[in-house]
Structure formats: structure tokens, C-alpha cells
């Protein structure tokens, strides 16, 4: 681009590239990948499942622990079919599952509404950060399950106390995620919005919240796990008509295969909730790396 100019005009300083003559062997090689990293995903998952089932079967077969405590995989498998049939035919287990689902969904809805509002208060205002945040941190360090008897005393043994504990547990990660997310925008982005004369509301809605969505969704995913734990814990402690109550009753009658199969169906519910959060995240946060698998997958 820059040419050296002399009195006689531009002058070429370069020369053709020459190398020593001769022939060399091809050096084509490929990078070594350990065999365990080459196993396809489906095979890897199936192999791991098989291994766990085999160990389970072995422990049961050789009576390493009492067969009352640990039923065989086959017994659990048969009970999964029994419970599945009851649920699909609209039996009492479906009603219990629906009850727990309602608790979880209501709990999550309250947690999102309260958690997001508190998160904006803490992340956006210095009053929130200085006055509200210390109290939230103090409450967050307490074991929240310990509040369950209080909620039962206040709200009774119906659905309300379960929703309350579920929401209570799930609110904090959403507050933290939202507040952290609102701080994620960098100095340049803030300055750009200020030079454009953007209002506080515009800055929040058009810049800070979108920038913070990855953190907000991290909070929502932790909350989605917590809301399940809260609902089931409240059912264990406060009875009711949900799935947690079925588990408690089965366990007290030492029907361990039933406990296992109920937990499996419960985990389907938890998985569906978690997965719907991830699906929404993928739609909204399509521009962020972590939105594909839910974890940051840059190696």
C-alpha cells in the first residue's frame, strides 16, 4: 500500500519467493481425540444408563443392602407401568400430579413476579441496593425450608401454603439474577444511551434488561428447580392432595418401588418446567452463547 518513492519513481523492493528444490513426503496427520470423547452422545448416554442399571441390579441381586430398602430394577419398572397407567387413565394419581403441577406453576408465577420486581428495585435504584439488598441477603442465607411450618400455620393445609413455600424458595435466585443482569451493561452502552438522551425507562427496557437476560434466565432456571423442591417439601410437611403426599404415604408403608416410580414421574414434571424455561430463553436470548445448551459451552 505504501510505496517508497525515489527520484526515479516507485521502485519495487520485493523479490519472488524461492525455496530449496527437492521432494518431501506428505505430512498429513490428524489430531488425536481420546476414544471416550469420540463416543456419540446417544451411545454414551445409553451406556451410562445401562451401567447404572447393572450396578443397581447387582447390588439388589447380591443383597448388598436389604431388598426392602432397595427394590430391583424390574420391580420398579413394573411399578412405573402401574403408575403410568393410573395417570393416563385419569386415576387419582393424575389428580395428585395435577395438584402438584398447579402448586408449582402458581409458585413459579409468584416467584417471577416478585423476584423480577425486587430485582429491578435492587439493581436499578440505589435505595434498593442500599436498603433492600442487605435484608434480602440476610433472608437468603437462612434455610428457607425452615419457614414451611410458618406458612402452614398462616395459610393452612391447602394449596396456598405449598404455593407460598415454592414461591419463597424460587424468588431469591430470580432477584439475584435480575439485579446482576441489570449491572451487566458496560460503560460504553450506558454512555451511548445517555448521549442519545434516553429516559431512565428507555435505558432500562431497551438496554439494561435485554443485556441482563442471560443472568435473568440463569436465575429463572435455578428458581425452576427450587420451586419443585418447595412444593414437595411443603406437601411432605403439610399433607394435602399432591404427589409429595403420595410419596410420603408410599414410603411410610415401605413400598419402595412405588416411591421410586413416583419420583420418576415427578422428575418429568420438573424437567418439563426447566425445559420450557430453556425454550423461552432460546427464543429471547438467541444472541447469547449459553442459550443453546443452558450451560456456557465454550471450551
Amino acid at each position: 500500500m505504501k510505496t517508497v518513492t525515489t527520484d526515479t519513481g516507485p521502485q519495487a523492493l520485493g523479490r519472488p519467493i524461492t525455496v530449496e528444490p527437492g521432494t518431501f513426503p506428505e505430512t498429513i496427520w490428524s489430531e488425536q481425540v481420546a476414544w471416550i470423547d469420540r463416543v456419540p452422545r446417544v451411545v454414551a448416554m445409553a451406556a451410562l444408563l445401562f451401567l447404572v442399571l447393572f450396578l443397581w441390579w447387582a447390588v439388589h441381586h447380591f443383597e448388598v443392602v436389604s431388598r426392602i430398602i432397595l427394590p430391583s430394577p424390574a420391580e420398579v419398572g413394573r411399578d412405573i407401568v402401574v403408575v403410568g397407567t393410573n395417570i393416563l387413565s385419569g386415576g387419582y394419581m393424575l389428580a395428585a400430579l395435577w395438584m402438584t403441577t398447579k402448586e408449582v406453576l402458581w409458585g413459579f408465577a409468584f416467584a417471577i413476579a416478585i423476584g423480577f420486581s425486587l430485582g429491578v428495585l435492587v439493581g436499578e435504584t440505589s435505595f434498593g441496593e442500599r436498603a433492600v439488598l442487605p435484608y434480602l441477603v440476610a433472608i437468603d442465607t437462612m434455610p428457607k425450608v425452615a419457614f414451611a411450618p410458618l406458612f402452614l400455620a398462616w395459610l393452612g393445609f391447602g394449596i396456598a401454603s405449598k404455593v407460598a413455600l415454592a414461591a419463597f424458595i424460587a424468588t431469591f435466585p430470580i432477584v439475584v439474577g435480575t439485579a446482576a443482569g441489570l449491572h451487566a451493561a458496560d460503560e460504553n452502552a450506558r454512555m451511548l444511551f445517555r448521549t442519545l438522551g434516553a429516559s431512565r425507562w428507555q435505558t432500562l427496557v431497551r438496554m439494561k434488561i435485554p443485556t441482563g437476560l442471560p443472568q435473568i434466565f440463569t436465575g429463572l432456571k435455578i428458581g425452576a428447580v427450587g420451586v419443585m423442591a418447595g412444593a414437595i417439601t411443603a406437601e411432605f410437611l403439610g399433607g394435602g392432595k399432591g404427589f409429595g403426599e403420595l410419596i410420603r404415604v408410599a414410603a411410610s408403608q415401605l413400598q419402595t418401588p412405588r416411591v421410586f416410580s413416583l419420583i420418576l414421574y415427578l422428575s418429568v414434571l420438573g424437567f418439563l418446567l426447566f425445559w420450557s424455561v430453556i425454550l423461552i430463553e432460546r427464543r429471547l436470548v438467541f444472541w447469547h452463547r449459553s442459550s443453546v445448551t443452558g450451560i456456557d459451552d465454550r471450551r
Binding site: 510505496t3 517508497v4 452502552a189 451511548l192 445517555r194 448521549t195 442519545l196 438522551g197 444472541w287
Partner: protein, 273 residues
Amino acid sequence: MMQSAIPVAEQPVGRSLARPVYQLRNVSKSYGFGKIRALDPVDLDLRQGSFSSVIGPSGCGKSTLLKIMAGVTPPTTGSVILEGKPVLGARREIGMMYQQATLFPWLTAIDNVLLPISIRDGKAAANDRRSEAQALLELVGLKGFDKVYPRQLSGGMAQRTSICRMLITEPQVLLLDEPFSALDELARDFMNIELQRICLSRNATAFLITHSIPEAVLLSDVVYIMSPRPGKFLEAVPIELPRPRTLEMMTAPEFGDYVRYIRSRLDEGAVTA
């Protein structure tokens, strides 16, 4: 505190008659309740259509000065006048660019360009300017990239998109904080020539912060030299090379003279400060 003794810069012939657009008088800034003196008092006139650069060691208060001029940060002392009116906050006449492109990853390139309109005048107004934004992207060589998201753009392409975002509001004044210093040298030369073309065609007034002496000489009518922190203006160097400037001029002896002179003055500033 000592008043800056540097007189308002002599303007090169032909532009000296232009009226001052930006006027700074006794503008200084301290942070931390006067503990950190970031910028000593500065006096400055920027004339309509002129291109000025500021060069100085890092931490000498260049970005601080720019933020004060943009109405983003209030000065500790002094006054900033733009088009005869004091700057007391964001002003529509101003367009800004920083070292980072600062595009928003959830907006397509064209929506990033239209963001200033959409913030200032609403989404409907932004939609009306869509074809204009398209034309700007074409102007900087990004034809067909309007619906692309920023993460698919290279650093240079992102920076060109952010130029379009600055230009869409048709600013009369461009405040540029090391806009191309993250780019490689080839891209940077190209962008500098683009920037000159844009400024000349719009008769815009530009104020550029840079670390590169050749870049400052290439683009400017006046180069201001700043001392280390707390920054003050040491000297104004008028660059009397013809316009439009070309990259070939960078090899001319006069160009080298300017570069050497500015370098020596910067070194002296570093020693005496």
C-alpha cells in the same frame, strides 16, 4: 490552579473565517471530591467544518474532556457552548463513537443503526428512516449485511456499522474517542479515509481522540497536544497539508516532519510534567 496559556489555535488558511461551533472556556474536571485532578482548565474553539485531533498519554483526561463536551459528565469548572447554547446534557447535534463498536447483539445491523432514531423519536420514526439506514450501510461497504446480527460481523464491519449509527442522526459535530484503535492498520487507514470523506461531504465538525500521531496528522486541520495527568493543552499544531488527504501523503517529507515534531513535543511534555 493555573489557567491554560495556550491561545485558540490558528486555523489554516481558508477555514479561518468559519464560525466557532464548539466553545470551551476554563473547562476542568476533578473526580473524588477534588482528590483526582483528571483535567486541568482547557480553552478551545472548534470551527465549523474543521477536523481537530487530541493526542496525549493515556490517563491524561482525553475521554473525560470528550464526555464533558458530549454533555454526559458535568465539568467541575468552566463552560461548554455548542451552537451558542450551553451544553447541559445530551444534545441532538452531537454524534459519538468509541473504541468499542458497542452494537447490541439482539438487534440486526440495521436496527442498531436506527437505534438513535428509535430512542429519540420512536419506533415509527425509525421505520421511516429504514431506507436511509440502508443507504448508509451501503456507503460504508456493508450492502447486504443489514439483517445480520453483530456477532456475525468482523471488528471492522462492526465499527463501520457504528459509524452509520452515528451518522443516521445527521450530527453536525462528531466526537470520536479512539474510534479505530481496535482495528488493524489496513482497516484503520481505510476507515480514516472514509471518515474524511464523510466529514468533507457533510461539512461536519470533528473532534478526534487518538493515540496514533500519523492518524492525527493525516486527518486534522489542528492537532492538540496534551500533557500527562492532570491533562492540559500544551500546544496546537496546525497541519497545512492540502485536502482531501490521501494515504500517499503519509510518505511525503512534510508529513514525516509533522509526525516527528509532534512526537518530540509529546516526549518533552512527558519529561517536564
